[in-house]
Assembly symmetry: C2
Homo-oligomer: 389 residues x 2
């Protein structure tokens, strides 16, 4: 999904053992860095990308990059690496399985956010990084931030988890399940064994349309589109794939339909269906308590009282480094503000900033001015030595 022209640095490891016990061979990690490691090696910022993001931070969080902004390359050595299973370069279902000489496709083994963190740590080691000043990320990126601090205690000093959660909720698992069913249902999916030139574009577009409901909020749809009607003929023609139907002609075509179809259609050229399903499964495994506290992973008919599980989570959060900056978007329906409030209540001396916005979950990308302001203020306070000049 990247052309050779804009290829990022890649570290190739002969092998990498996943949390599941499965060993991947010849593992690529695509990453990107900005700025330079200072003499004290105390200016490392790790950016963790969300679901459909990549190491190319400028493609999805560019308003935060630049001199005087949150991602200030004159002060920080900034690092972002692509996660396992993502189509943007790191080993994924699109990669060749050395044992077969063919792409892994649906046979690509399950990975976890902890696998990503351990893999990316190897790249940091390779780059001579000995500690990280701050890790920042939204949504899945925020999950990764939390795992950085838990997988390598003491290595990441400060954390900025945004619009994220300590564990993937039943609600998020449910959204993933609906997207999975939509993709499985497409005959072009072929159980994941689709040819590279005939991917299940239609299903991927519809899954993306479903996702766009969860990424915004009722209010944002109302503000942007209301009940406005769009000229049908003009807008249908634009789509790369056919999302209209003969029946459409007899009904008003609302602007919000047009928006969803355009977004769904444009997504299919940028993402792979097996990668999409893989990352949903990865996020489903997210539970910082898993295998760390005695009460994790309740099994069938588990008698574990919820209160005990809550206490275990609170106890684990209390072990994290103090003074994170936790950011919420007030209208986030995917990772609602109470999930970040839980982080802030239990991590020592946490700052919680709730950004009042109708943007929903995507507010972590959209409300860049307010996020930038909160992050810069926080970094200046926590790292005065990096802001002294």
């Amino acid at each position: 999904m990247t052309s050779p022209l804009d290829r990022n640095p890649t570290l190739t490891l002969p092998e990498f053992k996943l949390e599941s016990g499965i060993t991947l061979h010849s593992v690529d990690v695509v990453y990107k860095t900005w700025g330079a490691l200072n003499a004290e090696r105390n200016n490392v910022m790790v950016i963790c990308h969300p679901f459909t993001g990549s190491a190319d931070v400028h493609k999805w969080w560019s308003p935060l990059m630049g001199c005087g902004k949150a991602f200030d390359t004159t002060r920080f050595f900034i690092f972002c690496a692509n996660v396992l299973g993502s189509p943007f370069g790191t080993t994924s279902p699109l990669s060749i399985d050395p044992s077969t000489g063919k792409a892994y496709g649906p046979k690509f083994p399950a990975t976890t956010i902890r696998d990503d963190v351990r893999l990316h740590k190897m790249v940091l080691d390779h780059l001579g990084v000995t500690s990280v000043a701050v890790a920042i990320g939204g949504s899945m990126g925020g999950m990764t931030v939390l795992e950085w601090q838990l997988c390598f205690p003491g290595f990441v000093h400060r954390a900025i988890p945004i619009a994220t959660c300590a564990k993937q909720s039943a609600w998020c698992i449910s959204w993933g399940e609906v997207k999975r069913q939509i993709i499985w249902a497409d005959p072009a999916f072929m159980g994941g064994h689709y040819p590279a030139d005939r991917p299940p574009t239609y299903a991927l577009a519809i899954a993306r349309m479903a996702g766009l409901l969860s990424y915004r909020s009722p209010e944002s749809y109302e503000e942007r589109f209301g009940r406005r009607i769009q000229d049908q003929s003009a807008s249908h023609a634009q789509h790369a794939i056919q999302l209209s139907n003969e029946e459409d002609k007899e009904y008003p075509y609302y602007e919000t339909q047009s928006y969803l179809r355009a977004k769904g259609a444009s997504f299919v050229g940028t993402f792979d269906a097996n990668c999409y399903l893989h990352i949903i499964r990865k996020m489903d495994t997210h539970d910082i308590v898993r295998d760390r506290m005695p009460l994790s992973l309740p099994g069938p008919n588990s008698p574990t009282p919820d209160a005990e599980a809550d206490a275990a989570l609170a106890a684990l959060l209390a072990t994290l480094p103090p003074r994170p900056l936790v950011i919420s978007i007030s209208s986030d329906i995917l990772c609602p503000p109470r999930e970040q409030a839980l982080l802030a209540q239990n991590i020592p001396e946490a700052d919680l900033v709730v950004i009042d916005s109708v943007a929903g979950h995507d507010g972590f990308l959209v409300e860049h001015e307010r996020i930038n302001e909160a992050v810069v203020q926080y970094l200046e306070r926590e790292f005065p030595e990096l802001y002294s000049n």
Copy 2:
């Protein structure tokens, strides 16, 4: 979808002209009544059913029925009729088009909630009803309640709209669009021309699964399922249709997945895909201002300021009969409480009851004890003459 054994009364009209100008011939209206019209003819209660409901109120709102409850057949003559396009008896895509001798299928013309109200009014005329004491309904039923008062001014004295809205929001139109795309994508759908014995079951199940996200709330999924894992082999076997995949076996199977699959699979035997799409389109037309105020239905690039549209809506609501009982569910993400607050702010002397519940939109069905209590209290106050014995 009903067997001859439990057939409800049906009124057949030789023809019925829809709001669109199209005339349907030989139109059936399936309805049901409970109790008896009193001598004063002032004890009529109209119940308006939601999307997947029917005239058989006892099948979906039974906890509200009975002596001393909201639907007290010793006090009220209660009426509920099935809407156009629903699979439960009233003329729909499943009905025979007299002009072709075949089922309408996807050719069934668009209908509106106003069509339903006008059609059901004919049944009330036929039953000798000259006025309605109170109309009650949730979700689409609440939309219908509002249209009753607007289509026949003075005919319906009191209204109890629950978890509903004055106009279908962009958000709800968007959910409908995603469900429509899911169904269109199923090759078994065949543009709606599927054989009666080979309906697009898989797509309908997935659309239902998507719907179940919108009908509940993040909190309700968390409370019910959390991250609990279910025994896979046991639960997969139950489903009437295949919603699992070989890939599943390698991943934890969360209880919430099992819930969604079971609900999706069980829905397909009870509803028809063309009817499902028809009613989504019907709800999309819902806008009480449409064709009633000069500012309705903004067209492409309409310059109409939102403030003016809001003012038109407020002005129209102010013409409704006073003292409705408006009920919200606090966690409703489909028709959020602010949409009912808008009704209550603008209809004269409205009572607004917000039921604090994690049940989400489905709270109008689930929170029956608190709804029953609010409704009984309201009815006793508004209709003392019916509660004097």
